[in-house]
Symmetry: C2
Subunit: 392 residues, 2 copies
């Protein structure tokens, strides 16, 4: 039947079995996946328009509304990683020439600025060194100076380990006619956030951090104010895949009959549904408290070892990811390699502006336990004994 | 610790267990997932930059090169559905003002034209009624008239059930200084395609059709000619998430050290790896022959029942998805609803230009068996007995 002959043979390496070692993932994400969420991801699939699937999507929507503390009807999960949710937010909120103010104190602000530039927005930057957060005064100066339509800010800066205070920010933005867009990929479920009460206009997160689902889906929600900006657009969003109007219909957010838009990642949604169910069962407040307590225990342990934390102010430390300075006489790569090789444990180096300066230890969702704190502290102690390089 | 009180309570529906019924998915996709691929998707995850994960990605790359019959080094899987691969192809190949000729004989051409328009390309359309394919003469006329830089065409038109002949098309395009972009989402593994020998410049597919992996990852490959067009771009692609230059680095296609770009959907990649391994074990030629034989058996059965096939010419019928006209006196929705309710079986109605006109029966990958052919024919016979509506 084929008119031609195969010239590329079946690859040898695919004839060997899939090899996946066990790892304790204490980096900045992904985190480990609990058995129940894994099992959901391994189930037989459904059609993407079957009523039972639409029901699962409705449940995800309710779960996100709980996790975000919002009643926004335009709430759904993007079919991609947290990064694609960042693009979805910017692609939909901004049109060519719109002014956006991006608060940059680590890699996520840098990325948001890069994406906004690609789509032709007028990008203004508000800068702080990694490890620092923005005060209301910093933000107000930026708003007055640049008169942006949208402010982008990161709640959990996973590259530096900073938790950005959000109280008062929404009100401030609204007083200046600006929408507030918040990245909570690394913080959601690990630190308090109240989308409606804090007047956040667009909030997104990822599945693979505190939620402990595999990467590949990303919660997002738009306030009424943000939705009105979408309705006022003069041009269509550049991406059809990430067009919130079309997604809103597919997710049943617009009151219209649901139409096919794209084939959703069914199993990723099963996993996300289960991870949101586990968060609902545990309760947000318990989850926040657990992350706070284990982060405190970790920080105390690190300080007791004579190490220095990268974020000086205690209240500015992200409860999900702790950054500790690479001590003198060490190469960070030796330490992470030792932990990976000898303990099957992931601890990460820096990212973007913190490369070479810090180690990043993540305790997220089911990985945030006192046992894991003790385990990583012991392992780190062993690593420091073995990896000293001074006089090289 | 939280300064505010929760106002959105944990949703009731999330406290109930996840409910997923068993289904035989004989629509246009997704198709059922074999146990081995399911198991891979349910495994514990790895970090997205761990050497074992990069190894899995290398194996996926080799598997795609086999499935596509290409030696292109710029070969990888997009972290999204087949639809996002369509966007990746267009976002990277086209710049504002570039002329693209889109061959439209169903929904996929319509979508490609819509996406290309959003990104500011000069879109010319070449039209055929659904159920028909394009001849070399049709295409040559379009190339001469519009002088496009890129031609988009669909190999397996899943909305109409048409298989587009590709022989000679690449050569023709190249004679006219045009790149050939082919959508093989619904056909890959089910009908012969030889990317290199047929001089296809960009080819993409999805995971959830013949490959029998869950939706959420999408194979794509660029020829050297296409890669050169990417290198000549004056502007960056609009999407950072789908930027092939950045993805090429993350996938080890550019010879540089791999850098973090986004968090890949680890489990989707595990599943895709296993489904590509199964295809390599079975052999492409066996897979093509299996789809051909079962499609022929299905068509004969449908004709024997007195039904009429939507695609008249036998050689133009897509071996993976068969379109049959809705017989007079029936509403298609009654038939699909009967099959779903009483047989747990998905058969789909039309899509886009074929809505209301056809039923679509998919036999893809592990679902392409003679047992399934007999099962769907019997079920359809029962449905036709029960669902007659004449004189309503």
């Amino acid at each position: 039947m084929a008119t031609r002959l195969l010239r590329v043979p079946p690859p040898e390496e695919l004839l060997r079995p899939l090899a996946v070692p066990e790892r304790l993932l204490l980096g900045p994400g992904p985190s480990n996946v609990p058995r129940r969420v894994q099992a959901a991801g391994g189930r037989q699939i459904l059609g993407h328009m079957h009523p039972e699937m639409l029901q699962v999507m409705d449940e995800i929507k309710a779960g996100i509304q709980y996790a975000f503390q919002t009643r926004n009807r335009l709430t759904l999960a993007i079919s991609g990683s947290g990064h694609s949710a960042m693009e979805a937010a910017l692609f939909n909120l901004l049109e060519q020439g719109d002014t956006v103010l991006v608060a940059i104190n680590g890699i996520w602000g840098q990325r948001a600025a890069e994406i906004a530039r690609r789509l032709g927005a007028n990008v203004c930057e508000l800068l702080k060194p990694p490890g620092k957060y923005f005060t209301l005064q910093d933000i107000e100066q930026g708003l007055v100076q640049h008169k942006p339509l949208v402010l982008f800010i990161t709640h959990g800066e996973s590259s530096s380990g900073v938790l950005q205070p959000l109280e008062g920010l929404g009100k401030l933005c609204h007083r200046h006619g600006c929408l507030l867009l918040v990245d909570s990929v690394a913080s959601l479920g690990g630190a308090p956030i109240f989308m409606d009460q804090q007047e956040i206009d667009v909030l997104y997160s990822g599945s693979q951090k505190v939620l402990n689902a595999p990467p590949g889906s990303a919660p997002i929600s738009f306030s009424e104010r943000a939705r009105e900006k979408l309705l006022r657009r003069k041009t269509k969003p550049l991406s059809f895949y990430l067009d919130m109007g079309l997604l809103a219909n597919y997710w049943g957010c617009d009151g219209e009959p649901r139409r096919y838009h794209h084939t959703a990642p069914i199993n990723s949604f099963f996993s996300l549904r289960e991870s949101l169910a586990m968060l609902a069962e545990r309760g947000l407040e318990n989850s926040w408290e657990r992350h706070r307590a284990n982060c405190t225990r970790l920080c105390q342990g690190l300080l007791a070892m004579g190490l220095e934390l990268f974020v000086e102010e205690e209240k500015a430390r992200l409860p999900t990811i702790t950054t500790v300075k690479v001590p003198e006489g060490y190469d960070w790569k030796d330490i992470t390699a030792f932990l990976m090789k000898n303990r099957g444990m992931e601890v990460a180096g820096g990212l973007g502006p913190t490369v070479g300066k810090v180690l990043r230890i993540g305790l997220m969702g089911c990985n945030s336990t006192s046992d894991n704190v003790d385990r990583v502290l012991r392992a780190l102690q062993d690593a420091l004994k073995r990896c000293h390089r001074s006089r090289l």
